[in-house]
Each structure stands twice: as structure tokens, then as C-alpha cells.
Amino acid sequence: MPTANATVAFFLIDTMQDFTLAFVLAGQLLIGLDPTLMGIVGLSLAVTGSALLVACLIGFPVGALIGFRQFRGRSFVIVCLNALMGLPPVVVGLLVYMMLSNAGPLGFLQLLYTPSAMIVAQAVLITPIVAALSRQVVETLAREYADTFRTLVVPWPTALLALLRDGRSGLATVALAGFGRAIAEVGAVIIVGGNIAHVTRVMTTSIALETSKGDLALALALGFVLLLIALAVNATVAALSLATREAGHG
């Protein structure tokens, strides 16, 4: 069946074309510095950055505390925390939606469909992740320090700070994991943000939109741009933490 074969070859080129087109588009988007795209990128970074900040401010200490304190029911708390890493974004989105909706208890704040709502949703989503992974990272160090801290009678807030400080290189990876989860997330932000053009549209919701329009090449191009952003953020963090490690304290 020569025709069938020829057809297959033609099809192969077909999705490959989408693929290469995506690369070209991604390049054009980046070079063109399209203002709409820049706005979307900026909002993505602002929302995820804020959410990550909140998540780290809560998740690091909580994770560290669980990592080094011994208390009744600790294993249970750890199991719950680890399970919360599997919190589906859509569920988080729904919960936050119900809270912030006009019919919800926090409706009077009028936060729904604003970037603030997206920050809340992402923070709720990744705080357990940051806490659970911090717990793991801090625990190794905490075991090493535990007896020293006990014999020195280090009060827990001081111990916490010391663990976070001395464990910072591991915590950087944890923060990056949280960042990755948040920046890539779409289910929660689309529910509470609404993917409203010029207001709450971020990279992932744009990608979802282009996908549902069937413009796979553009969706993929946006995906590449998003990955490039993630790469840039990671490289920055790596450069910073390399600087500390070179000082020899890592």
C-alpha cells in the first residue's frame, strides 16, 4: 500500500511540524517581547513568587519543627503532611473559591478573580509540599544537632532558626520544588483567578486556553517559555547557593 505509507510519512511530518513550529513561535514570542506575553509572564512570576514566599514562611518552620521535635502523634502528623502533597489543585481551587465567593464567608473581601486569590490558592497548594520536604531535609541535620541542642538547652525558636540556617542548601531545593509545582499549576488558579484576560491570565492558564482552542503549537511554545522562566529562576537560585557553598559552610 504505497499510498498508506506515503500518508503515514506525511502525518509524521505533521505533528513534527507542530513541534518545530512551537520552537519557532517560542523564539518569536521571546524576541518580540510581546507586551501581552510579558504581562502574563510577569503575573505568573508575581503570583507564584508571592505564594512561594508565604509557603516558605509557613512551611519551612513547620517542617523544621516537625523534623526536630519529638511529640506524641508525630508520625501521624508526618503521614498527613506527606498525604497533603497529593492535594489536587482543583480541590484547592474549589475550597478557596467557596471561601472567597460572594456567597462564602470571606466574600466581603472581594478577592475572587484577583491575583490575590490565586496567591492564596497556590500557597495553600504548596505549603504542605514545602513543609513535608523541609521536614525530610531538616530531619537529617536535626538528628545530627539534636543532642548538642538539648545539652545546650537551646530554646526551640533558636534551634529552628539554626536548623533552617545551616540546612539552607537543602531547603533551596525544597523551595524550588514548591516553585515548580506552583508555576506549573493550572487547576487551582483557573478556578479562583478565572483566567481573565489582562487580569488573572497566567502562563499555565494561557497554555490551557491555547490547547482547548486546538492551537497546540502556540500552547507548546508558551510551555517552552514557561520552562525557560523556570530555568532562569533555578539558575539564579543555584548561583546564589553556590556562592554560599563556596564559602565552605555547605
Binding site: 548538642t148 538539648r150 545546650l152 545551616d166 555547605g250
Partner: protein
């Protein structure tokens, strides 16, 4: 010896260390039927003894005798599975630990500079200008040149010395020292011994674990000999080194293996 003290790496700066302890009144360490089990093994068994509230007690015994475990129980880092530990009337708590300093057999240094390790405990005790004081403590101990090095890259002996400086920085009333000079060069050993003596002469209770019999001879007021988790004897130093009561201690001092039947350690 006094002339050495002034030139050795640990000049007698202990007297000027921050005096944090509120009460200098020492309390005697008393254990009653103390026992500790872990991993299904009895590690310490029926340890009953009273240590005087001052002076230097040396804890001797073969590897695995339970010396380090005893110190941890005394400090309250481990909880006995049987019997009790008391400092005066108190069980080991944060309050008793605040007056004690413990140098572990394998000192754990914070992943920071040598200076920050000392500054950390000073800050902890509310000392003002902690970093400045830490630096002068390091200088006084001859470790000034290492102040800004990450503690993790220090040599074995340097780490041990840093741990000792850190322990003394808080001006403790009780010193628990687990083989503090095991990795030290002869001069540093002499210096640390001088420091210990000086602390002791100021009323600090010292409990010292060592395998250096000569050191024990030089420093001990009384000797507790442990083997296989059991106290074989508790004797005044003079008597102990002249002729120990127990067969185990005699074997130990002779550098002989303690007969297997009588111990549960290796």
C-alpha cells in the same frame, strides 16, 4: 606546670569566662539502681552511686562499657529505663543542663565557622557582643587563626579543641567530658588538663571519661570503674591506681582483655 599553662594553647582563661550560673552551690550526682536498655540489650545495669558535689571523678572502663551512655543519662539526654538519676534533689532537666557543659566523644560542630560555633552558645546565654567575646575566647585558646574557617574543615584535634572552648564558654558548674583529649597533641593535652584543674579548683564538678590511664592518674580524685554496663568499683584515686579492688579494673590497667564471662559487652 603553671609556666606551661600561660603559654599553651589554652591559657587559663576559664576564670574570666562569662559566669552565667546563678547558683554556685553544687549538688551531688546520685544514681539509684540506674539501668538502661536499648536495641534489646542491657547497656547499663543497677548503677547506684553518689559522686561528691565537687572534685574530679574519672570514669574508666573498656570500650563499650557504657561510659558515654552513663554521661548521657546523667545529663538527661537519655532517659533511664530503670532507676533514677538525681542532681541533689532534681532529676536532670533543662534547669540542671543549663549549669552543665557536655563535650561529646564525637563533638558535633554547627555547620558554620569556628567563631560562629562559639558565638552561638554565647548568644544563647544572653551574652552581649557575643561575636567579639567569641573571638577573644578563640584567641585565648590559640585557635584565633581558625576563627573564620568552617568548623567542618578543621582537623580532628582542632575540632575537639573548639568543642572544649565552646563548652567552657558558658561557665558551667558541672563539666561532663567524654574523652576530650583523645585526638590532641601532647601540648594541647597538657593545656586542657590545666584548664580542667583550674575549673575544678574553682569548685566545678568534673566527670571525665578517658582511656589515658596516665591522665586519669594525674587528674582523678576518685575513679568509677565500669565494665559490661556494671560498676565494678568506685574508689578513691590513690587507692585505685595502687591496687584496684576488682579483677576487671586490674585487667584494664594491665592492658589485658577483661574475661568475657563477666561482661556483656564484647
Amino acid at each position: 606546670m603553671a609556666s606551661i599553662v600561660s603559654t599553651v594553647p589554652f591559657p587559663g582563661r576559664f576564670a574570666s569566662a562569662p559566669q552565667v550560673r546563678t547558683s554556685r552551690c553544687q549538688r551531688s550526682l546520685q544514681t539509684v539502681d540506674l539501668g538502661f536498655e536499648a536495641g534489646g540489650k542491657t547497656i547499663l545495669d543497677k548503677v547506684s552511686m553518689t559522686l561528691s558535689p565537687s572534685g574530679l571523678t574519672v570514669l574508666l572502663g573498656p570500650n563499650g562499657a557504657g561510659k558515654s551512655v552513663f554521661l548521657r543519662l546523667a545529663n538527661g539526654l537519655l532517659l533511664p529505663t530503670r532507676g533514677t538519676v538525681r542532681w541533689g534533689d532534681d532529676r536532670p532537666t533543662d534547669a540542671t543542663r543549663l549549669t552543665q557543659s557536655f563535650v561529646f566523644q564525637r563533638p558535633v560542630l554547627l555547620r558554620r565557622s569556628a567563631l560562629d560555633n562559639v558565638a552561638f552558645v554565647l548568644k544563647l546565654r544572653g551574652v552581649a557582643e557575643a561575636r567579639g567575646k567569641a573571638r577573644s575566647l578563640l584567641d585565648a585558646a590559640g585557635l584565633g587563626a581558625l576563627a573564620d574557617r568552617p568548623a567542618r574543615v578543621l582537623s580532628g584535634g582542632e575540632q575537639q579543641r573548639l568543642a572544649i572552648v565552646r563548652a567552657l564558654a558558658t561557665g558551667p558548674g558541672v563539666l561532663l567530658l567524654d574523652e576530650p583529649t583523645a585526638s590532641l597533641d601532647p601540648a594541647s593535652v597538657a593545656a586542657v588538663e590545666a584548664l580542667i584543674r583550674s575549673a575544678e579548683s574553682q569548685g566545678v564538678k568534673v566527670i571525665l571519661v578517658t582511656h589515658d590511664v596516665a591522665q586519669a592518674r594525674r587528674l582523678a580524685h576518685d575513679v568509677v570503674f565500669l565494665s559490661g554496663g556494671v560498676v565494678r568499683e568506685h574508689t578513691a584515686a590513690a587507692d585505685f591506681f595502687l591496687s584496684p579492688h576488682s579483677a576487671e579494673a586490674r585487667a584494664y590497667l594491665d592492658g589485658r582483655l577483661i574475661p568475657q564471662e563477666e561482661t556483656n559487652s564484647c
